[in-house]
Amino acid sequence: MSQERLFEEDPEAQERDALMRRVAAFVAPVAEDAGAVASDAVSLDVADAIYQAFGDLDADGGLTRADLATACADVCDAATFANRFELFCRLGMLLPVRDKAHQVRHVFNPTSAAALLVFERLAESGGVQEIMTLLDRTRAGLRSGVVCREQVAGNLARARRAFAVYADHLSRMVRVCPLEELIAERRHHRDTEVLLEDARDVVRLVAERFPDLAAAGQRLVGEALRYSAVVGLFIERLLDAAAAQRDFSMLDEEQYRTAALTASRDDLAVVFARTVFDPPSLWIDPESVIDAVDTFSPRPASPRRPPRPPDLPPGPDPIDQARERADAARRRRMRTAEDLLQGGDEADLTSRVRVAGWPAAAQLIAALLATAADQKLPYMVELRNALLVDPDAPVTHLTPAILHRSVPDTRPAPETLHERQGTRDA
């Protein structure tokens, strides 16, 4: 946050101060001295909290002082509440209801409720709303025929004076007030066109109903026009300041939106008449140029080495272990075959298989078939087509099997990865 911002006043606090100044001006006609109105808006907050308590709580029969103190706990401290409570009682905003000797309840004075509503309108529209209300009331009375000539004449005069007072007030502000005060004031003068139209409408009705008041009506329209012209000057000064400071917050979002929708292209262009724009451009960087070239001609694939194998874990080589296991199995099969052959070249295994029982018979046949399938071993198993059936034997169904010693297969065995590696290493 910049140093200037640090020392800026809180905008909300500024607004509340402005409201209290407006309230002071509002009660000035009946004030006894300059201190008649509290300078701190907390008094208004306490009154508002009390009013809300009567509206929101079950206040049938009134509220006690303690009820009100609780309702105001978030707004002020106990001492301030006590001070304001006594004052509100003395001025008749809170009216006592004695239903028990030791307990006093209070009700809210409707006149004070009206005053709070007026203060709220003062905060929102600075009092201009009152002119609109007066014109509306007059118009409704003229249309329904319930107002007399004197009432209409009085309302026309009051509305004219109000327009005159606001026109002079704004005119003074445009001349002497700093920009910050003008900005704070601007939202009170947004309905100028509506006000002017209302005034014209009322004057038209007056001319029809009371032709002799037409001149008074014209004076009212004259003041309304003067007020409208001063509001124009006021807005012009605001816009000049906004343009000079490039402050786009001077107007409401809705006003910008309206301008965007309704203003001509030339009028909108004026806003940026002194703004420098970059010429239209394309975004191209070398990466995107090469991307386009790639789309046309893909990059040649770079030769890649196969990934380096991970280092072997410590301990015996698992491939060596596998080879040793395979050698041991082959030796076991060879010993079994030689036991069966008993030094000969051929052995009938049928009776051996028969007496081996189950499952040893199946294990023996499986081992012999694996031995015959091993190309490095010189054995062959012949299985005959006959089927021997003996329901009482340990193996009931049996095919005759003969083990032969064969000529060893001299064809080279399929090369294993381990053997290939070993050859290269050698």
């Binding site: 000049d240 000079a244 010429p279 451009s281 394309l282 975004w283 960087d285 995107s288 386009a292 789309t295």
Partner: protein, 194 residues
Amino acid sequence: MREPSDTAVALGRLRAARVLPRSEDPGALRRLQAAAGRGGRTLVQVSHQGGPGLVLGWLEGSEPACGPDTGVERRLAPPTVRLTLAACLRACWPDPDRDPFPGQPASEGQVLAALAALDPARLHALGDDEGVGGAERHRKSALRQLRAAGFLDPEADQIRLGPAVALWTDADIGVLRRSYGRLPVAPEPQGGRL
């Protein structure tokens, strides 16, 4: 309304015109450089209309980042325009060991021939295959866009690299150098041999 200073106007003119002849007043040049620096910009000297010129570049780290969360969007040129610039770079930048800018002039025919020699099947993927006439129309349109955007000199009759190329950094040029051999180039004329 307060009138802008001469320096502010000069900076605005430079921004709007993209490239302007360099001022001969050293004081004005110093003030312009200072004003540009306050906005995160810097003055880059280029050759312009036969003399020294200036363009606005970005101070390192000041260029707004683009992306969905930054509020800055950049309109990437279509592939045909980028491919056309690739052919212009190859034609105007004969020696990749030197900087591409200002390079040397090349003829429009040289650039168009380089693009015409590209594989039609792959050009189809780029949407640049509307027949011979259509393709050439696209490529000439791409040249116009490159001139308007400052990648080619808008004043030159021939193809000359523009001030936008002069703003590329050494790292940018390095990217082009690595792929220099793949930039589109016009085929050598087929000469008969006796």
